[in-house]
Each structure stands twice: as structure tokens, then as C-alpha cells.
């Protein structure tokens, strides 16, 4: 991942690189990233903090791991104005996030989706929700449970009743 990770967290997250203001983000597992404000404000959440002058210290991104935050920053970098030469190139790059072929892809997209929701990044959220919706389209209940690693918490009677209620959806 091509991110601007640094080893030590500054107590003041408000630094500059040239004339560009840098924000310091800290993931839930302690990884620290210095990111240009112009990039990080693709997050509506962070933009709100910047606008309210609340981004002057290290910003803890509590619900996102360093690995996922690095992917989010990669997304931001690619979506910075001028980062790619044309829309087609951007769509081709985005395609790695909008298909789910195996559990590893699923976990990455799932983590990104939750991070995009938490940080309020509309473009990333749209991409990830589309990928998940496409991946579960047409799946059976058991296949969805497997996809999301969910154990059924219904007893047999409850599940039968629910299936009867939605019988039309289980008919071929």
C-alpha cells in the first residue's frame, strides 16, 4: 500500500508539508498516518472536524484497523483531483474493490464498507455496497449465512414460520 504512514504520532496532528496542511490519523490498533488535509477531507466526518477546527490533534479512527485505513487512504489518493488521467483509468482501478471472488475479497470489502460508513466517504461507500449487494444477489439463506459468517439464531419453529411469511421469496 502506498500510504504516508509514520512511525511516531505527534501530539499535534496539525503539521504542514510545504504549504499543504497534514492531518494525523491513528487507527484503532495504533498505526499512525499523516495525510494531506485536501485528501482526508473526502471523508465528510473529517471535513466536519476540520471545518469546526477540531482536527488540530491526532484524530483517532477508533473503528478502523491500520490495514483498512491504509486502503482508505489509497482510495483517497486515487480520487484526488488530478491523480488519474481519465475516468476510465479510475474505474479500472476501482474494479478491484467492486467484485468479491473469495473470502479475502469479502473481508476487505466488508472492512472498507464499515470504514466508509464510519468516516462517511460516499464514493467508497457506494462502491462497497454495490459489491456486497451484487455478491449476495440470488443467494439462499444458508449461502448468505456462510458469506457473512453468521450462525442462525432461529430455532426450527421460528425459521419455518419466517419462511412461510416470506414464502414467495423461496419459490423458484
Amino acid at each position: 500500500m502506498s500510504t504516508a504512514a509514520t512511525a511516531d504520532a505527534s501530539s499535534s496532528g496539525d503539521t504542514t508539508e510545504g504549504s499543504v496542511r497534514l492531518l494525523t490519523l491513528q487507527s484503532e490498533d495504533g498505526e499512525v498516518f499523516e495525510v494531506k488535509e485536501t485528501i482526508a477531507t473526502q471523508s465528510v466526518t473529517i471535513k466536519g472536524m476540520v471545518d469546526d477546527d477540531c482536527a488540530t490533534s491526532t484524530i483517532p479512527v477508533c473503528n478502523v484497523t491500520g490495514r483498512t485505513l491504509a486502503m482508505v487512504i489509497e482510495w483517497w489518493n486515487k480520487h484526488e483531483i488530478g491523480a488519474v488521467s481519465n475516468e476510465k483509468e479510475l474505474k479500472e482501478w476501482e474494479s478491484q474493490f467492486d467484485t468479491i471472488d473469495d473470502k479475502s475479497d469479502r473481508d476487505d470489502v466488508y472492512d472498507l464498507l464499515m470504514a466508509a460508513n464510519y468516516l462517511n466517504i460516499p464514493t467508497l461507500l457506494d462502491c462497497c455496497t454495490s459489491a456486497v449487494a451484487e455478491a449476495i444477489k440470488g443467494k439462499s439463506t444458508d449461502e448468505m449465512r456462510e458469506f457473512f459468517d453468521i450462525k442462525s439464531d432461529f430455532d426450527e419453529k421460528e425459521e419455518d414460520a419466517l419462511r412461510k411469511e416470506n414464502q414467495w421469496a423461496f419459490e423458484n
Binding site: N63, L113, L119, T129, I150, S152, N166, A169
Partner: protein
């Protein structure tokens, strides 16, 4: 990958986020996955068919008794079908209390609001909200 996030993932959030992109059948099947996959009722018979979608802006404010405080739960626009009998979901993340606390600005809590329309007045096209 070491996934500390997996065990505390609230799966219902995923359904909440992708529900608007699912077809009725997939959504109905998804609602049978587990108990927390809310309580989503899918009424196949009343699903709108190929109607014009219109941008609807909704704001949901909660006011504490005596005007001690006002919270904005949802303030967003979605494309909805305004046909009588149709409706739509609105979801928004709630901010954490106090912008300068050590917490992030978002709380990780999502406000969900379901809007249902019952009838349209023919003379001026105004829609009455059912629920």
C-alpha cells in the same frame, strides 16, 4: 489477516447499508438470515414497478422536553418513488456528542427511518405520509 473487527461486526449494519440496492426477493431471503436482520418486512405485493424516482429530502430532528437540546438524527436526500403505497429507507450515521472529545466525530450508531406514503392528492399531487 488478524481480524479484531470480525467478532464485533454488527451484521445488521451491512443489510441496512445494502438494502436499497437489493431486489425484493434477495432482501426477503436476507431478512431470514438471523433475528437481528431486522425485523425487515418485505411486502412484495406493494413494491413499486418502474415508476419515476424523485429526489426527496428528509430531516428528522429530536427535541428534548423544554427545548433543552435539539439533535439532528437524519438530514439527507434519497431518490424515492412517490407512488401511493410506496416508501423508502433513510439512514444516517449519528455524530458523537462533543466534537472535540477524544472520540471520532461519528458515533458508529446509525439512525434508520422508514417512510411510507399512503395516497397522492390528485389536484395538486401532494403526497400524504402514512408512517
Amino acid at each position: 489477516m488478524s481480524r479484531s473487527q470480525i467478532n464485533r461486526r454488527p451484521p445488521w449494519e451491512v443489510l441496512s447499508l445494502v438494502a436499497q440496492l437489493l431486489d425484493p426477493k434477495t432482501l426477503a431471503v436476507a431478512s431470514c438470515v438471523s433475528k437481528s436482520w431486522f425485523d425487515i418486512n418485505v411486502d412484495y405485493g406493494s413494491f413499486p414497478v418502474a415508476e419515476t424516482l424523485e429526489e426527496v429530502k428528509i430531516t428528522w430532528n429530536v427535541v428534548l422536553r423544554g427545548w433543552q437540546g435539539v439533535f439532528m438524527m437524519i438530514d439527507r436526500e434519497e431518490k424515492l418513488n412517490l407512488r401511493a403505497g410506496s416508501g423508502g429507507w433513510f439512514s444516517d450515521s449519528l455524530p458523537s456528542p462533543g466534537c472535540c472529545s477524544s472520540e471520532m466525530a461519528a458515533s458508529g450508531i446509525v439512525a434508520d427511518l422508514k417512510l411510507g406514503f399512503c395516497r397522492m392528492r390528485e389536484r395538486d399531487g401532494k403526497i400524504r405520509v402514512d408512517k
